[in-house]
């Protein structure tokens, strides 16, 4: 399988506090990689390093390398273009102070797309993929921040899909979404896997079991184990801590 992302000896510190302690692994193209682990294990930090949004957090130091298609992400001059290649969905919905339509059209517009007909197609496609189209198709001009929490999170997903990313990072996307909608979005993710690589950070281990081709288990900034999901959730993962975590013995 072709490597989409190669992470090598990645270390991150917030001030003097370590967040990642030399993490190394590869992410294959067109796979869903589940990343599980308790709080403070460095999952979100890892995603922020990959799309370079960690740069907005002051007093952080990053060592090691992250390569996208073999190119070190820090050597890419067009950081805005890089972020368009790597979509990000944050745990809690962040409604931009724009209409529903403009929320989804925001990223394509920043990329230079201006034709309304093209934007209309993208907006409809992304809202359908995020299982939101039927609920908002008659009020696309309404303010996105006025939607319910679950709808806003789906709007966030639609927004992340709008720039057709090569990699989609989902950071606990279902935290504010009801179970039925979560299942609908999970179905969408299974089909999106054919078009993009998906990194799924989740606290719901069963969600990783349902969706991920491979799963990585992180604990206190260390990568404890990464393997096929079947192995991680079997009776015999390589590490006892993995077994204990996925079976609810701690965390």
């Amino acid at each position: 399988m072709k490597n989409k992302i190669e992470i090598s000896e990645l270390k991150v510190h917030y001030g003097d506090t370590p967040a990642l302690n030399g993490v190394s692994f590869d992410v294959y193209e067109n796979e869903i990689l589940g990343i599980i682990g308790p709080a403070q294990s460095g999952k979100t930090t890892l995603l922020k390093v990959i799309n370079r949004t960690l740069e907005f957090t002051q007093d952080t130091t990053v060592e090691g390398s992250v390569k996208l298609d073999g190119v070190d992400i820090n050597s890419i001059g067009d950081v805005h273009g890089l972020r368009r290649r790597i979509g990000m969905v944050l745990p809690l919905p962040v409604g931009l102070p724009l209409s529903i339509y403009d929320n989804v059209a925001f990223a394509p517009r920043t990329a230079g797309m201006r034709k309304k007909a093209e934007l209309d197609v993208i907006v409809e496609r992304c809202l359908q993929q995020a299982a939101l189209w039927d609920e908002v198709k008659d009020r696309l001009d309404s303010l996105g921040t006025k939607l319910s929490g679950g709808q806003q999170q789906r709007l966030t997903i639609a927004r992340a899909l709008s720039h057709q990313p090569e990699v989609l990072c989902l950071d606990e996307f279902s935290i504010a979404v009801d179970p039925i909608t979560t299942m609908r979005i999970e179905d969408v993710l299974k089909t999106l896997k054919n078009e993009m690589t998906i990194l799924l950070v989740t606290n719901l281990v069963q969600q990783a079991k349902r969706l991920a081709n491979r799963t990585a288990f992180m604990l206190n900034g260390d990568l404890i184990e990464i393997d096929n999901t079947d192995v991680i959730f079997s009776e015999n993962p390589s590490n006892q801590a993995t077994y204990d975590y996925v079976n609810g013995n701690f965390g």
Partner: protein, 243 residues
């Protein structure tokens, strides 16, 4: 509607009405406050001085406010707080903003009234700038810092450039808080201007003629405008806290 809110809004409306009546009457040159309370030509002169100065100073005031907002955005969005440039500028702003408005007023009074008969445009403008800019920059900085980091992260994660993030997201989110700060600063500036007029009239006329102290109508107008500005500021602040 809560009783306190009702009382607050009533005060605001009454203040607005009184301020409007006063401005309207002065505009017509009738000056009923002068006639009713003062019946003195000096007070009418003070209004003429006020009108003349307002005409000259409003552009300076607006320019100072716009420049202050721009400086605050530059400091918060384009400079890192540990940067030496940020440290130097921020420290000067804190020092200037911590000086009581009254001292700026006395400074203005000294240059406007005692050093020259009418005061020069430069000294007028300098006082307005010193009075308005540091506090506007500070309040705007606070408003910008109040915008949740997740808003910026969400926009940056979509590949937006800094300028787009500021214009499309940070500014709209901070707008109410910025305006609240601006109205507070205007309120203080008007109150200080009223003080200057009162002292001007007392020193130039009352003390010389031996008449009883009185409050010039133009100072009353300024004080009412100051109160009105405070009311607007409170409304905007309440709105900011609600959103």
């Amino acid at each position: 509607m809560k009783r306190a809110e009702l009382i607050f809004q009533s005060i605001a409306l009454i203040t607005l009405a009184v301020a409007f009546i006063l401005f309207w009457n002065f505009g017509k040159g009738m000056s009923f406050v002068e006639n009713g309370l003062l019946s003195d030509t000096t007070a009418t002169d003070s209004y003429a001085v006020l009108q003349e100065n307002l005409n000259r100073m409003i552009p300076v005031l607006l320019g100072s406010i716009l420049l202050s907002v721009a400086i605050a955005f530059y400091l918060e969005e384009y400079l890192v707080r540990t940067n030496w440039k940020y440290q130097i500028i921020a420290r000067q702003i804190v020092i200037l903003a911590s000086i009581p408005s009254l001292l700026y007023g006395l400074l203005g009074l000294y240059f406007f009234v005692f050093q020259s008969e009418k005061g020069s445009f430069f000294t007028h403008a300098l006082t307005v700038v010193l009075l308005v800019m540091p506090r506007t920059i500070q309040s705007t900085q606070r408003a910008i810092r109040g915008v949740d980091i997740s808003i910026r992260e969400a926009a940056f994660a979509l590949g937006a450039k800094k300028w787009r993030v500021i214009v499309d997201h940070v500014f709209p989110h901070a707008f109410s808080a910025i305006m609240a700060g601006i109205f507070t600063v205007i309120s203080r500036a008007l109150a200080v201007a009223a003080l200057i007029i009162v002292v001007y009239v007392w020193t130039k006329h009352t003390l010389q003629s031996g008449d009883t102290f009185y409050i010039p109508g133009s100072a009353i107008v300024l004080l009412l405008s100051s109160l009105l500005s405070s009311v607007f500021s409170s409304f905007l602040e309440a709105k900011t806290n609600c959103t």
